[in-house]
């Protein structure tokens, strides 16, 4: 799930910030509406991300946050990546 850089980026951003809107995620990640929507749907379906709909100045805003499950998955993924990089580097 987190092998894709966009999904990894979304999860890291959501782990750092309490809530991010769709438009903010789009701005930060530089993804198109369609791609970002698809990534977020996958994260929602796997229970990693939560969405909350709200109207701000009469405009619909989708706020995304990371679930406890998503946080746990992100931590284990980052540990795995770190281990992989460490093992692949030649030791002096």
């Amino acid at each position: 799930m987190l092998e894709h850089r966009a999904r990894l980026g979304i999860c890291v951003l959501l782990a750092r910030h309490q809530e991010l809107s769709f438009s903010r995620l789009k701005e930060l990640l530089g993804e198109t509406d369609g791609n970002l929507g698809a990534h977020l749907r996958k994260l929602e379906e796997s229970g990693y991300a939560r969405v909350r709909k709200q109207f701000v100045q009469r405009k619909p805003v989708s706020w995304y946050s990371l679930s406890a499950e998503g946080r746990k998955a992100l931590q284990s993924h980052l540990h795995a990546i770190t281990d992989l990089i460490r093992k692949s580097k030649p030791t002096r």
Partner: protein, 188 residues
């Protein structure tokens, strides 16, 4: 195993994260405090009896308005950082608490009115300096400026408080225009 793609991904994530953390307080907060400081400092020279009541109202009211402006900026930008909001609140409430404790010295007569203002200025200068280290860098320079203003007030007579207040207000307006602010969009 070739880890170059993974390292590339991590570099991408690092960049995205750095971009998201470049958020600064809205300019209106800097303008608000520039106005509050300008009036509050000038009062020491022109209407000293009103200084206490002015700061008792303007200080907390400015804090509440700043919190509202910060929250609205988060809504506009599409980024909610409760941790940063709490950090700001604790920092400024801590400073206000220290000022309240020093005011007791003034009420009990342990410190005269003239020196009370000076002590409060030192606390505020320290508060801004530390805010610059932990929260937003431009505030550090404003804190240093306040510290310099304190020294000026000790040794220069005349309308020193007014002049120092004007310099601090100008520096706050200047600080509002430094650094990157993020455009953001509210349509999702």
């Amino acid at each position: 195993m070739d880890t170059t793609p993974i390292e590339g991904d991590l570099q991408f994530v690092k960049e995205v994260l750095r971009k998201s953390e470049g958020k600064r307080s809205p300019r209106t907060i800097y303008f608000l405090w520039a106005a509050i400081v300008l009036v509050g400092f000038a009062l020491v020279d022109f209407a000293p009896v009103r200084v206490g009541i002015y700061w008792m109202i303007a200080g907390p009211a400015g804090g509440v308005i700043s919190a509202i402006l910060g929250y609205r900026e988060g809504q506009r930008l599409g980024q909610r950082d409760a941790d940063i909001g709490i950090r700001h609140c604790l920092h400024w409430l801590g400073m206000m608490g220290a000022i309240a404790l020093v005011v007791i010295l003034g009420i009990t007569g342990a410190v005269g009115q003239v020196n009370l203002g000076r002590i409060i200025l030192v606390i505020v200068a320290l508060g801004y300096f530390l805010a610059g280290i932990h929260l937003e860098r431009p505030l550090m320079w404003i804190g240093l400026l306040m510290g310099t203003g304190y020294v000026a007030i000790l040794f220069i007579s005349g309308h020193t408080w007014t002049v120092v207040g004007a310099i601090i207000a100008i520096s706050m307006v200047a600080a509002a225009f430094t650094g990157e602010r993020q455009s953001g969009a509210t349509v999702s």
